[in-house]
Amino acid sequence: MTRALLLLSSLAALLALASGCTYSVHEVTAAGFAPADAAPAPRKGEWIHARGEQSVVLGITDNTDYVDRAYAELVSQCPGDIVGLSTRTSTSLGFLSYTNVVEMRAMCLR
């Protein structure tokens, strides 16, 4: 009975893993909360968000430009100081291929 339960639960977990909706989270960092440049009056903070993706088949790729694109997208959204940054790099795993993802979230001080 116990063995059957163990076998069934293991196979169910394997089936879930094969469903293709698995991820590997490589890094999550929070940074840049130190006081920003002087401002005469309280400034309004607004959340901004950028995402970069790269699809890779069989691991063949020669660049990490998706990170630069995400950074450029983040910076382009804010003419003021960008503080309170959180960066996440992860990979969406798939059948002999995967998608690298970088997510950047920050606060724009206007």
């Binding site: 063995r3 059957a4 163990l6 076998l7 293991s10 196979l11 977990a13 394997l14 879930a16 893993l17 094969a18 469903s19 293709g20 909706c21 698995t22 991820y23 590997s24 989270v25 490589h26 890094e27 999550v28 960092t29 929070a30 940074a31 840049g32 909360f33 130190a34 006081p35 903070g45 890779v56 691991g59 503080v83 309170g84 959180s86 996440r88 992860s90 990979t91 969406s92 795993l93 798939g94 059948f95 002999l96 291929s97 995967y98 690298n100 993802v101 997510e103 979230r105 606060m107």
Partner: protein, 140 residues
Amino acid sequence: MLRRLLAILPLALGAAPLCACATLHKTAIDEIDAQHGRLQPFEIHVSDTGLDAKALGAVASVAARSSRPSKVADIVALFEFGPKTGDPVFSDTFADHVVDEVLARCPSGRVTGLVSLRESAKYAVASGEVVTVRGFCILD
């Protein structure tokens, strides 16, 4: 003495899967500023459960007394192709609210000395995939 050690060894090996093996994958340290007020430390942990296909296959093989589940696990591994840090999880957004947590601890947004850690606590077939953020609120 040796006999006693040999008697304890299976017990120790048997208990090993119950204990977590901790792995530190990445560390990042932000600026540390102690000039602008008193500092109050805080620590935030967020985690998700990771699954190890190979280990699941091995467990299923032992339960089934057959090598087939291990072969199934090898095939499953093809469906989770790519660079991995720790074991695969079912959500990549489990740590996205960590900044909200930081701001909840420090509503003024005055934070310094942030240390971001990416860790794993590995058990037999599963793991705890953990993100830890430590830092200091700058008090007025």
